[in-house]
Assembly symmetry: C2
Homo-oligomer: 104 residues x 2
Amino acid sequence: MKKMIAGLLALGMGLANAADPVAGKTKAATACAVCHGPMGMAMQPGVPNLAGQQEMYLIEQLKLYRNGKRHNEVMGVIAKPLTDQEIDNLALWYSSLNVTVSEK
Amino acid sequence: MKKMIAGLLALGMGLANAADPVAGKTKAATACAVCHGPMGMAMQPGVPNLAGQQEMYLIEQLKLYRNGKRHNEVMGVIAKPLTDQEIDNLALWYSSLNVTVSEK
């Protein structure tokens, strides 16, 4: 019984922490799209494309902006209130976008 | 005559400083491709894609790595010896790549 409860708890925690790309897409539309575009392609010259970026890279950079170790005036403000869950969701959404590259 | 000399000097400086995407591609193949891929698509989870990134963004970030304001163990070493010209060349090469994005 103890094992079952522990198992259910672990499952519950696992579910609570699982990144949700749909929630990421919704959050991105309000928090990120003005600069990074609706599909993660930058709308301004000094802004990076996020579409198809590595999930781990996006999580790391958002946390660096949140804790102030990476500096950018806008991103400092945007990243500060983000929860770990929101960061995971955003990273999964952007990394899930399919990118193909070719030489012009 | 003075105006002509000044004009020629300005032209010469302009030409000397013009970014060269072919030189950028050559430099990228030796300095960047191991981690960022031969076409600027990351080969490792914590590494960003560079293909199709904004030229200005790439220049800014390489200079931040070079002067130590953006921290990354590998990029600190890689960016330190880069000249402004090499940074301009790399940024033009990566930004010149054509990227198309779609939802999976």
